[in-house]
């Protein structure tokens, strides 16, 4: 009975959405805002990757909010799962096979380098802080799986998180002090296509990369310890 009601209700909703989507034709350029970003983006921000300039420069405030959301999730996880953490004895895990442990030790530095490359080149090619941070976190996840007994110290990851977030806010406030607008791109824009260009964008992305990496690592850490 519940299923039938659910299906009927959802069909009505989806049909309604389809009705309003007739106004949103597929595949046509619809926006003047998007065109403006594509045309003026390189000149105004110095970043060749237009998506990065939108994410960090034109809509940098959203990125600040997003970083905050991840911060909240990490704190929430820590608060919820810590109240039930018994002091862990040595966990009875199956020792990792030879292939897994050798592979982990081999891949870990490669993954780290790859992640750092993606973070730093955020304004030149697809990538950026979030993507690179996720890659770095998966490198650490690999060590949890492959080499037992290795734990990332919770204090250090918390400090990295706070520093990352604080750097973001401080850069924004510096923009306010120097130029009168929060998150103003006040550093010199440099020449396009070079590594040191686009003003504050690489700095913020590095901070975000560290933050996201350490946050995801502490989330994984909490989830692994919180399970019975």
């Amino acid at each position: 009975m519940r299923r039938i009601i659910a299906i009927v209700l959802l069909t009505i909703v989806v049909l309604g959405i389809a009705l309003s989507l007739t106004e949103v034709p597929f595949g046509t350029p619809k926006t003047h805002v998007g065109d403006y970003y594509v045309k003026e983006g390189v000149k105004e921000t110095g970043a060749v990757n237009i998506v990065t300039s939108v994410v960090l420069n034109y809509r940098g405030f959203d990125t600040l909010g997003e970083v905050t959301v991840l911060f909240i999730a990490t704190i929430g996880l820590g608060a919820l799962l810590t109240t039930h953490k018994e002091r862990k004895k040595k966990r009875d895990v199956m020792p990792a096979s030879l292939i897994l442990s050798t592979g982990c030790r081999f891949l870990f530095p490669l993954l780290l380098i790859f992640g750092i490359y993606i973070i730093i080149h955020g304004h030149l090619s697809p990538g950026g802080g979030f993507q690179g941070g996720a890659i770095i976190a998966s490198a650490f996840l690999l060590t949890y799986l492959g080499c037992q007994g290795v734990r990332i110290s919770e204090r250090r990851s918390k400090l990295t998180e706070s520093l990352g977030g604080l750097v973001f806010v401080i850069v924004g406030v510096l923009g306010l002090i120097f130029g009168g607008y929060f998150l103003l791109n006040f550093l010199p824009k440099g020449t396009p296509f070079s590594l040191l260009s686009a003003g504050i964008i690489p700095i913020i992305y590095v901070a975000i990369g560290f933050k996201v990496g350490s946050e995801l690592v502490s989330v994984i850490d909490n989830l692994m310890e919180g399970s019975t």
């Binding site: 069909t11 949103v24 350029p29 619809k30 805002v33 970003y37 998506v51 997003e66 999730a73």
Partner: protein, 112 residues
Amino acid sequence: MIYYIGAFGLVFIGLYIILTKRNLIKVIIGLNILDTGVNLFLISVGYVREGTAPIFSRGSGQVLMVDPVPQALVLTSIVIGVAVLALALSLAIMLHKHYGTLNLQKVKEQKW
């Protein structure tokens, strides 16, 4: 066009799972599918036929590019989805510790 259908198909499936399934983990997976469907919809709104990725390469000049704004929106939305998922999973772990079951029908201690 197919992208819209696919995106809303995912939304439909996700909502159906949330509304009808009883196991908490399945509901959380449904939530994830719902988020994925919505993100797919957002990106397909920005598609321009014959457009390329909005990244300039050396010596390319002005080419037709897809809209960069929905891509930025989806970046934010994916991260928010991950955060909600993490919280939901931690609540599921704690729920299991308290009740011993993940069946949402049995977890109804609060009365009217």
